[in-house]
Amino acid sequence: MPCDIVVCVKQVPHPDYLNKISIDPTGGTIEREGVPALINPGDRNALEEALGIRDRFSGRVIVLTMGPPQARKALEEALAMDADDAIHLCDRAFAGADTLATAQALAYGIRKLEHFDLILCGNTTIDSGTGQVAVQLAELLDLPSIIDAEELTFEDERSLLVKRIWERGYIKVRIKLPAVIAVTAKINQPRLPTVLGIMAATQKEIKNWTAADTGADTGRVGLDGSPTQFFEMSEFHAKRQGEILQGSPEEAVTLAIDKLVEREIL
């Protein structure tokens, strides 16, 4: 039986450039100008897992993102990695969303699909990193979910045994499809797009859906649908009354140890 899988992806700033992000002092908005973007690394693991399952059972891999027009690039990359379909939820009405409003938008998009068996997400993003969206999406779609998933094993076509990591070890959980699963980076090694894949991707269509296309209640998505709000932003500085010890290495080390003794740390 084919298995149709939705993979939710997010375009994030490149991690090497995170320190280039700053605050526009006049507007209080976040400056991301010139910061290259990529598919959130954890979402690539979700996509790789989906592609493997599709290749085994047949079916389609549908990548879904919510984001500004430039997020289309993330979908192009996913198609080049061999995803079948791509949907871009792109509308001013979706902008400014917190985790719940993001999950709402994704849920509206997914409800519009004719059919799906499984929704896969990355466990956490490298930018905001809340890890909340997958679970909230599951709740909104009234589906069971598992996060921190490190291994998926199909027991039969409708039932998965999932190795879910927690602080003290792991838990094996059985879950019936349809379900939402968020996977960790350990689950697989995502493929890189091949030249053939990139060429094939240009033949694939990326669907653009506005809020109206999905039938979204605009009071539930974007800034208006977000229970939480930014109240204040500031650049982060972890300053202490630190002291750099002078002298030769020998002197500096001796002085440092004296200070630790003095502060009763040693």
Binding site: I30, W166, P227, F236, A238, I244, L245, P249, A256, K259
Partner: protein, 336 residues
């Protein structure tokens, strides 16, 4: 104007425990809950405890006025759907103002579900929480590190209630236990069959103490490539009876497993002594060590941001400084 429900503003803590022991993160949250109540101008702190009746007294001693005890019938915390069901029911009947959750694997899952079910806000991985008066209303202000830790954002939840936040283990330290009086309120759990089926729970024996609980942490960064890797970190940690950790570049270099990564995308530590070796101190790292009591930093670059966040800094070539540090510390620790 104070937000009051039934005459009392209420701050709740979702309690996690394991093998008759309360999680440190929950105890730390109780201390924070008391602080928030004070800032609200009074009110009650309540804990929600699943099973483990014997732990209720300890929760009271750590600051709970009330303990909602759900052990009829008992179920494990792994059943996050049942936890969600319990919490949404309790919240709807008692309408607390604020709920604090540990950002553990299970806590995060339950909190996210509850937030979505109730349509309220949940702010993840807060590094600070306080009450401020905004638009004439006392509101929970949650500070988080965003975008790799280069920005701090203050987040509020102006309309929806309860206001909810998660805090990672290691951020808040529990205050000492003190005998207090409180009330234990048994809660009946409605029958519900979870849609997931727990097949097996496996605990892996950890040889080393968990990073979050370590009193001394020695963390190595990319700068250690000049001395060929991580050996000195292990040696120093052994002398100081501490734990070993690494920055993201050290993890990427394969010097240390990802479980030992400290920083925004890794663990948060709050040891008495943090020693950094060859760590430049990027913001993504800084947010993971903010609450360290004393930071001793060794790096060759005098302009590295690590020296702004350290208490004691040594600028120097690691090849020279590390052997000296190891010898001298060994001499001292050997004598005590």
């Amino acid at each position: 104007m104070n937000p009051k429900v039934n005459g009392e503003s209420q701050v709740w803590v979702w309690v996690e425990h394991h093998q008759q022991e309360l999680a440190k993160v929950s105890l730390g949250l109780l201390g924070k809950a008391r602080e928030l109540c004070q800032q609200l101008g009074g009110g009650e702190v309540a804990s929600v405890l699943v099973g483990a009746e014997e732990l209720a007294a300890e929760l009271i001693d750590h600051g709970s006025d009330k303990v909602y005890l759900a052990n009829n019938p008992p179920f494990p915390l792994f059943e996050t759907e049942l936890c969600t069901h319990l919490m949404t029911g309790l919240i709807q009947s008692h309408q607390p103002e604020i709920i604090l959750w540990g950002a553990t694997s299970l806590g995060r899952e339950t909190a996210s579900r509850v937030a979505a079910k109730l349509g309220t806000g949940l702010t993840a991985h807060c590094i600070d929480l306080c009450i401020e008066e905004i638009n004439g209303k006392h509101q929970l202000v949650a500070t988080v590190a965003g975008w790799g830790g280069n920005l701090t954002l203050k987040i509020i939840c102006p309309q929806r209630r309860p206001q909810m936040a998660t805090v990672k283990p290691g951020i808040l330290s529990p205050s000492p236990r003190e005998k207090r009086n409180g009330e234990v309120i048994p809660v009946k759990v409605e029958d519900k069959t979870p849609r997931t089926d727990i097949v097996e729970v496996v605990e892996e024996q950890k040889k080393a103490k968990s990073l979050e609980e370590a009193e001394v942490v020695v963390v190595g960064g990319w700068g250690l490539n000049s001395v060929g890797g991580f050996q000195a970190v292990g040696e120093l940690a052994q002398i100081l009876k501490g734990s070993v950790a690494g920055t993201r570049p050290a993890v990427d270099a394969g010097w240390i497993p990802a479980e030992r990564m400290v920083g925004q995308s890794g663990k948060t530590v709050a040891p008495q002594l943090l020693v950094t070796l060859g760590v430049s101190g990027a913001a993504q790292f800084a947010t993971g060590v903010l609450n360290s009591k004393l930071i001793l930093a060794v790096d060759k670059d005098p302009h590295a941001p690590i020296f702004e966040m350290a208490d004691v800094g040594i600028v120097g070539d690691l090849q020279e400084v590390l052997p000296l540090l190891i010898d001298k510390l060994r001499a001292i620790k050997g004598n005590t």
